[in-house]
């Protein structure tokens, strides 16, 4: 087995091990035996005589949350990988075209209007899609510039505009009630993930991940100038639209249920690149594995280390930064 294949196998094994561990730990004590007999009962359709709360905790609370961490982590890492390749820029994160800022604005508006959690999530999802749609529509109409540059710059200015609307809503929000709710949403958290959230967000994220995985070898061509790619027989405009749509769909679905979780979309692609090099065909699956494993590890700590929840944004950076620097120091690969 060559070292590259070994990397994938190790990453997948780490992910599986982490998932098992994540199911086994939590504030509510559930023994490994209880989990095994519960899952066995669920799989075979037989009845079990475990306490009702054990089933609620595993099936309604912990299970959806573990799976959501995997989906959100993989989505953010995949979107970041695609964008960094497409924009030929290592500083690009999934939010470059405004998806998180748009989603944040949607959610903040929902909180400002005192809507229920379902509408807040719906607003967030729609906000993400609308923001990127707007950026893409304006960016592709700015002729006479490099199309990628036009897209990035439009993304930056629209993102700033949306950010200022968020600031306005925060300013007008009720300071005792709505403002803390907005702050918590912007901090990001998987604490309130419900089975319903997962059943809606996961298919949407997979819908975005599937075309990206299928097109991953061709995505390398997006880094080439348009005319060169055309000479190779690839319609970069069309490919770019598909990639942006897929990345937006999965990021918007992820952010709608988790709030803003930074770091993963920006730095997990780099970690993967240090391990297998810049080819997106090889990079994308590994980035997804690492993103999923990393967010799962972080979220498991968030929900277990203290009585209160720790915001994932705090731990992603605290754990991620030394890990990333260590990887960077070790590696001699070019970008």
């Amino acid at each position: 087995m060559n070292s590259r294949a070994l990397t994938y196998v190790l990453a997948a094994a780490a992910l599986l091990g982490l998932t098992a561990l994540a199911f086994a730990v939590g504030r509510y004590p559930v023994s490994l035996g209880e989990i095994v007999s519960l899952l066995a009962a669920k799989l075979t359709g037989s009845t079990h005589n475990l306490p009702a709360n054990v089933e609620t905790v595993v099936m309604q609370v912990r299970g959806p949350r573990v799976l959501a961490a995997l989906v959100v982590g993989a989505s953010l890492a995949a979107a970041g990988t695609a964008y960094q390749g497409m924009f030929r820029n290592p500083l690009v994160s999934p939010d470059i075209l405004g998806v998180s800022t748009g989603a944040a604005l949607g959610a903040v508006l929902g909180i400002f209007l005192s809507l229920g959690i379902l509408f807040i999530q719906l607003f967030a999802f729609a906000g993400g899609l609308v923001a990127v749609g707007l950026v893409y529509w304006i960016g592709s109409r700015l002729r006479g510039h490099d199309p990628l540059l036009a897209l990035v710059l439009t993304g930056v200015v629209i993102g700033t505009l949306l950010g200022s609307v968020i600031a306005l809503l925060k300013y007008l929000a009720d300071p005792y009630n709505q403002l803390p709710a907005i702050t918590y949403w912007l901090l990001g958290s998987l604490a309130s993930i419900s089975p319903r959230d997962l059943s809606v967000a996961a298919p949407l994220a997979l819908l975005g991940l599937a075309p990206m995985l299928l097109l991953r070898w061709r995505m390398n061509l997006l880094a080439l100038p348009d005319d060169e790619a055309r000479a190779l027989g690839v319609d970069t405009r069309k490919l770019r639209t598909i990639v942006v749509a897929a990345a937006t769909l999965m990021t918007a679905a992820a952010v709608a249920v988790s709030g803003i979780i930074g770091w993963i979309g920006l730095l997990i692609p780099h970690a993967a690149r240090l391990l297998v090099g810049p080819d997106i065909g090889r990079l994308l699956p590994l980035a997804m594995l690492l993103g999923a494993a990393f967010l799962l590890a972080v979220d498991t700590l968030c929900r277990t280390i203290a009585t209160i929840e720790v915001p994932p944004g705090v731990l992603t950076a605290l754990i991620g930064t030394p890990f990333f620097l260590w990887l960077f120091a070790l590696s001699r690969r070019s970008w």
Partner: protein, 338 residues
């Protein structure tokens, strides 16, 4: 520090202004001889100033909504929106405060270093005396007295302070008679997963009631907890301020795992015209104490809640609510057991 201010004030000359007073933050305040126009920097301050002398309040921090305005005389409900001044994000312009010909600025809430320095800064800028008072329920009688002295309404303030003290004493005596204290969880936000730890201003009502707060082990202040943690605590009663959350617990399998939901003991705090339970964190929360007291200890708090509400409104909001208004406040789904 406070002593130093008092000593220093002995040596400063007294002009046409009143004798200097010291606010809760220990800052020396020198209001003009006649205080006619008072700007309240936040909702808890509005409640106190309005209670003492409604005609001296120059405006609300935000315009009254129709469902709030119905509880006040029209001339008060229509006072202009002036914005908040310090603390959690300013929406007031200092020039607006000046233009309102303000004699005294009052803020009620935390009296720590940051609010005190902000108050000093605004006072420096505007030359308008800026007094800061402790907003805790237990500190309300003292705040009423000091504020009444500054505003030149000592008699009115004294009457309110004595009444408030009697209410608190009555509550304490009732709490002392309680033999079983159910475990209570305060769920905030649409997910209900935000709560207040021991000593948090958000659950002062619970602490006055000597309730057993499920989240007591969490740090003071607003915190987020996980479902697993709430299921582990398994509270017997849940109180909330969020109608969306209250409606969702009955259908959400995760919340149904909690004792309080199974026993249908999840209650939604009334919120008109000023919140009863958590926010704004001022004197208005006395009604929340009576409400929660009745829910937690029905025997010891065998009082007529409607009469309590009517009396508080008459004294603090200067208008007794109609029977229909009492129904609006207390008849909302979830406010009281069916």
């Amino acid at each position: 520090m406070r002593l130093w201010v008092v000593i220093a004030s002995l040596f400063t000359e007294v002009s046409s202004a009143q004798a200097p007073a010291v606010d809760t933050s220990g800052r020396e305040i020198r209001p003009p001889a006649k205080v006619e126009r008072v700007y309240a920097a936040g909702p808890p301050a509005s409640v106190l100033v309005f209670a003492i002398a409604p005609d001296k309040l120059t405006g609300w921090t935000r315009a009254m909504r129709p469902n709030e305005a119905q509880f006040f005389a029209e001339r008060y409900a229509q006072l202009p929106e002036l914005g908040r001044l310090t603390g959690r994000g300013n929406t007031a312009n200092v020039e607006v405060v000046l233009k309102a010909k303000t004699d005294l600025i009052v803020d009620v809430g935390s009296t720590g270093g940051t609010p005190a320095s902000l108050a000093s800064q605004v006072q420096e800028q505007t030359k308008i005396p800026y007094a800061l008072f402790d907003g805790r329920i237990e500190a309300t009688p003292a705040a009423l007295r000091s504020l009444g002295r500054l505003m030149g309404n000592e008699a009115e303030a004294e009457k309110l302070a004595v009444w408030y003290e009697n209410e608190l004493r009555d509550i304490k005596q009732r709490v002392a008679r309680v033999s079983s204290h159910p475990l209570v969880y305060y769920g905030r936000g649409t997910s209900g997963l935000q709560t207040g730890g021991k000593g948090s201003i958000n659950i002062e009502v619970l602490e006055i009631l000597g309730a057993r707060n499920a989240a007591a082990e969490a740090r003071a202040g607003l915190v987020t907890v996980s479902f697993e943690q709430v299921i582990l605590w398994d509270p017997e009663v849940i109180l909330t301020t969020d109608p969306n959350y209250w409606a969702s617990v009955w259908t959400d399998a995760r919340w149904r795992a909690v004792k309080a939901v199974a026993a249908k003991r999840v209650y939604l705090s009334p919120h008109l015209p000023f919140g009863w339970f958590d926010f704004p964190p001022g004197a208005n929360r006395l009604l929340g104490v009576w409400w929660a007291g009745k829910l937690l200890y029905p025997q010891a708090f065998d009082v007529d809640l409607r009469a309590k509400v009517a009396e508080f409104h008459r004294l603090f909001y200067h208008r007794e609510p109609t029977a229909a208004q009492l129904d609006t406040m207390l008849g909302e789904p979830g406010v009281l057991p069916r």
